[in-house]
C-alpha cells in the first residue's frame, strides 16, 4: 500500500475511540478501522475532514510513499 497514515496516533492524541472519531468526521467505525489498517484509501473529502478534526494538514495524516515493488 503506497498510502500510509498516522490516523491511529492522531486519534490516540485526541483521546477518542474509533466510534467517536467516526461520529466526528461523519463516517462509520468500520471505515475508520479500515483506514487505520491501510485497507482503504479515503476520498479527498473524508481525508480533509479527518485532517480538520485532528487539527493537522492532510499530509500529516496521510503519507504517500513510492511503491518499491
Amino acid at each position: 500500500m503506497p498510502l500510509k497514515n498516522h490516523l491511529k496516533e492522531l486519534r490516540a492524541r485526541l483521546g477518542v475511540n474509533q466510534q467517536e472519531m467516526g461520529a466526528r468526521v461523519g463516517t462509520s467505525r468500520q471505515t475508520i478501522s479500515q483506514i487505520e489498517r491501510g485497507d482503504y484509501s479515503p476520498s479527498v473529502t473524508l481525508a480533509l475532514k479527518i485532517a480538520k478534526t485532528c487539527g493537522v494538514t492532510v499530509e500529516e495524516v496521510f503519507e504517500y510513499t513510492e511503491d518499491e515493488s
Partner: protein, 263 residues
C-alpha cells in the same frame, strides 16, 4: 519498444493461461460426460441414484425440521456469544469487535442459507402431499412449518440487526422497512460501500464461472437423466438476466456523467 515487448509478453502469458483453463474445462466436461454416460449404462447405479433421490424427497420434511432446529440453535448460540463479547468490549480493542462482527455476519449468512435450503426442502416435500390420506391436514402442517421458519428468522434477524445498530450508532434502518435493502445500501458510508462493491464484483466473477458449469450440468441432465429442456432454459434465463443487469448498470454509470454534461 521495451515496454511494447513487455506488454506483448504479459498478454501472451495471460492468453496462455486462459487457453490452459479452457483445455482443463473441456477435459473436465468430457470426463463428467463419460462418467455420467457410464453411470447411466449401469442399471444398478441408476437405480441406486433414483432410490437416494426418492429417500431425499420422502424425508424432505424431516430434513427441513432438522435444518431449522440446528440452524436456529446455532444462530441463537452465536448471538449470545457476540452479546457476551460485546459486554467485555472497551470500545477500542479491534480484535474483540472483529470477533463480535464476525459472529453476527455468520448469523446473517446462516439465515440466508437456511432460507434457500429450507424453501428447497419444503418445496420438495410438496410432492408427498398428494400421497397423504388427509391432504388438508398435510397442507396445514406445511403452512405452519413454513411460517415457523420465517418466524424464527424474523426474530433472530431483528435481534441481530438491533444489536448491530447498538454497536454502530449510525445504523438506523429498521429490518422491517419495506425498502430495507435500498435504504441500507444508501445509508452506508464510502468505506462500507467499497466492501459491498468488492463483494458484488466477486459475486459477478463467481457467477461468470458458475453459469457455464450449471449449463453443462443441466445439459448432461437432459441427455443422460431425461430432465428435459426446462433446467437448461432456466439456467440460460438466469445467465441472460445477470448479463442484462450488468450491461444495464455499466451503461448507466458509464454514460451518466456524459448525459449530465449534455444537459
Amino acid at each position: 519498444m521495451q515496454i511494447d515487448d513487455m506488454k506483448k509478453n504479459i498478454r501472451k502469458d495471460s492468453n496462455f493461461k486462459i487457453v490452459l483453463e479452457f483445455i482443463a474445462f473441456t477435459l473436465f466436461a468430457t470426463l463428467v460426460g463419460y462418467i455420467s454416460g457410464t453411470v447411466m449404462d449401469n442399471g444398478m447405479i441408476k437405480a441406486c441414484l433414483v432410490s437416494v433421490c426418492d429417500v431425499f424427497v420422502r424425508y424432505a420434511l424431516h430434513f427441513y425440521l432438522a435444518l431449522n432446529i440446528v440452524m436456529c440453535s446455532l444462530c441463537i448460540g452465536l448471538y449470545i456469544k457476540s452479546k457476551k463479547l460485546a459486554e467485555n468490549w472497551d470500545g477500542e480493542d479491534e480484535k474483540q469487535i472483529n470477533k463480535i462482527e464476525f459472529c453476527l455476519d455468520i448469523v446473517g449468512s446462516i439465515i440466508s442459507l437456511t432460507v434457500i435450503a429450507g424453501i428447497m426442502l419444503w418445496m420438495l416435500d410438496f410432492s408427498n402431499i398428494e400421497g397423504c390420506a388427509d391432504s388438508r391436514t398435510a397442507w396445514i402442517i406445511h403452512t405452519v412449518l413454513f411460517s415457523c421458519m420465517f418466524g424464527w428468522i424474523y426474530i433472530v434477524r431483528g435481534k441481530m440487526m438491533s444489536f448491530k445498530q447498538k454497536l454502530n450508532c449510525e445504523d438506523r434502518i429498521h429490518v422491517l422497512d419495506l425498502r430495507f435493502e435500498r435504504k441500507y445500501f444508501e445509508s452506508r458510508d464510502e468505506g462500507q460501500k467499497m466492501i459491498i462493491y468488492r463483494a458484488t464484483h466477486d459475486v459477478f466473477k463467481g457467477l461468470s464461472y458458475i453459469n457455464p458449469v450449471l449449463m453443462l450440468i443441466a445439459f448432461i441432465g437432459k441427455i443422460s437423466f431425461d430432465t428435459g429442456n426446462f433446467p437448461v432454459v432456466i439456467v440460460l434465463v438466469a445467465w441472460l438476466m445477470e448479463m442484462m443487469i450488468y450491461t444495464r448498470a455499466v451503461f448507466k454509470y458509464k454514460y451518466r456523467d456524459k448525459n449530465r454534461k449534455a444537459e
